[in-house]
């Protein structure tokens, strides 16, 4: 119930391609869905986030698509570059009326963009 399932585990895309990373969840109490980018030896960096009242959000080359009925959301990276090579984590937060709630993370996707 608390899990966020992320796929694929790893992904290789040519430069300029559009990698797509998918996440699915069961718990309808989740109310906030961020994506984080992590480079080796670094902390997760917030990339983009969405709430379930919208179906899509774009920030620069990054787009989240959200399907509330299917309980799925995905990250698309447009015009991917070798510098986008990193591990990407989806996450979710349970809305509980205002508490400082922890994020539940997916297992991560190791993305490689080949030049």
């Amino acid at each position: 119930q608390q899990q966020v399932k992320q796929s694929p585990q790893s992904l290789i895309v040519q430069k300029g391609g559009i990698p797509i990373i998918n996440c699915a969840y069961e718990n309808t109490a989740f109310d906030y869905f961020p994506w984080y980018q992590q480079f080796p030896g670094k902390g997760p960096a917030l990339l983009i986030a969405i709430r379930p009242d919208v179906s899509e959000k774009k920030e620069g080359r990054f787009t989240i698509s959200f399907n509330k009925s299917a309980k799925q959301f995905s990250l698309h990276i447009m015009d991917s570059q070798p510098g986008d090579s990193a591990t990407y984590f989806c996450a979710a937060r349970i809305g509980s009326g205002g508490g400082a709630d922890g994020l539940t993370f997916g297992k991560g996707t190791h993305l490689i963009i080949q030049p």
Partner: protein
């Protein structure tokens, strides 16, 4: 741009020893978190903290762990008697507002228990 900082970057300790990991959250943030990431695995929530008390904790956060905000800027995680399985990256995070808002992570402390 304000950022979360953590010290030390790497801590090596012997099993059974106490360690304190330190974090300085972003200055106007009110909500603080600790997460850990065992090598090659996902990030796991440990504890959240607001108004000088724990708001939420996970199953991982047992009696060996404690958190404290000793002054207006620092936020600490103490592990009383470290075990080999405590070896991980520990990340501090902070957020400005209550509810579904952004959490910003620090660079982490790599804890190695020998």
């Amino acid at each position: 741009e304000p950022e979360v900082t953590q010290t030390p970057s790497h801590q090596v300790t012997q099993m059974g020893q106490e360690v304190i990991l330190r974090c300085v959250p972003i200055s106007n943030h009110l909500y603080f978190y600790w997460y850990r990431q065992i090598l090659g695995q996902k990030v796991e929530f440990l504890v959240s903290f607001y108004n000088n008390e724990i708001s939420e904790k996970s199953e991982i956060f047992d009696d060996q762990f404690s958190v404290e905000r000793p002054d207006g800027s620092n936020f600490t995680l103490k592990i009383r008697s470290t075990k080999l399985e405590d070896s991980a990256m520990y990340f501090c995070a902070s957020s400005a507002r209550r509810g579904p808002y952004e959490q910003y992570f620090g660079p982490g402390t790599r804890l190695t228990v020998t």
